[in-house]
Symmetry: C2
Subunit: 152 residues, 2 copies
Amino acid sequence: MKSRKRHHHHASRADLPALTDRLRRKSRKITGARQAILEILRRHPHPMSNKEIFAALPKGDCDLATVYRSLHLLENMGMVKRFDLGDGVARFELLGEGDDGHHHHLVCTRCAAVVEIEECFTREFEEQIAARNGFKAITHKLEFFGICPRCQ
Amino acid sequence: MKSRKRHHHHASRADLPALTDRLRRKSRKITGARQAILEILRRHPHPMSNKEIFAALPKGDCDLATVYRSLHLLENMGMVKRFDLGDGVARFELLGEGDDGHHHHLVCTRCAAVVEIEECFTREFEEQIAARNGFKAITHKLEFFGICPRCQ
DNA sequence: AGCCCAATGCAAACCGTTTGCAATGAGCAG
DNA sequence: CTGCTCATTGCAAACGGTTTGCATTGGGCT
Ligand SMILES: [Mn+2]
Ligand SMILES: [Mn+2]
Ligand SMILES: [Zn+2]
Ligand SMILES: [Zn+2]
């Protein structure tokens, strides 16, 4: 259980101009909606759903469909990472540049509180599973669930 | 990476009468639909979606809604375990009696082939994460993804 | 054989997500 | 700065998996 620090929370504190720059460099337009969405993700330390982002948006700043489309764009650009916390809802976290964002969460099954988990099992464990079954390019999704202190 | 054998595939080979007995003992009705669904799950070694079960059903044996309702029932009775293999689709595996069915899968991202994975990281790893954050009753969901030999 | 309520079929509702299309506007050339 | 053009947006409809309301059926009991 090597603890591979990823500093992704530092990275997500990059300021807004730095973020819009990444859009500009890939020649995507810097729209009000995209800036607002990035600003919200920048301020939020845990994965957010489309609806949550939409709700956090300065009222009526854009349509929900635009939130969905923006997050697809940001995901394809590698600027956000998609998580599935067990309910069927996609959630997103901002990524620092060059950060693959691989990490996990501990979710309270009563109140849905989220704790960021940096630890992960060893690479060898994963590689063993890959090798044993002849798979390549192996990755994993891992989330923890339990009852948080406040809900116990 | 202790290999905790679970024998769940042995258990799922329990014959149909043994399975319907579990229904009877909880005084649920033994209907044609339920027998057919159990028979399909019994024969299938990997998680199946509602639609897949429905498709495998002797033609028109029951409604899709009944498949959904049956799997809820079986899940609540602890006779099947629900898995989420990354797409938003619920999949189910038959459980042996007293088996909690905890295990994982390795899924090909090209052809969706599934390999059963019995290995899991150590209990201590999980307990450390629980303790460090004051959580109780901690569990996890873990699935692996990669390219299978045939798809490489 | 008859009763009763669990279980079912059917269709509609649901919820998160995606998409078609016409209107808008960001970035660029002139 | 002005105008052009295509990416982006709003809106509403469609989508796919799942759930649900309601009338009907039928399994397990007496
Ligand atoms: Mn996170
Ligand atoms: Mn399995
Ligand atoms: Zn990991
Ligand atoms: Zn495990």
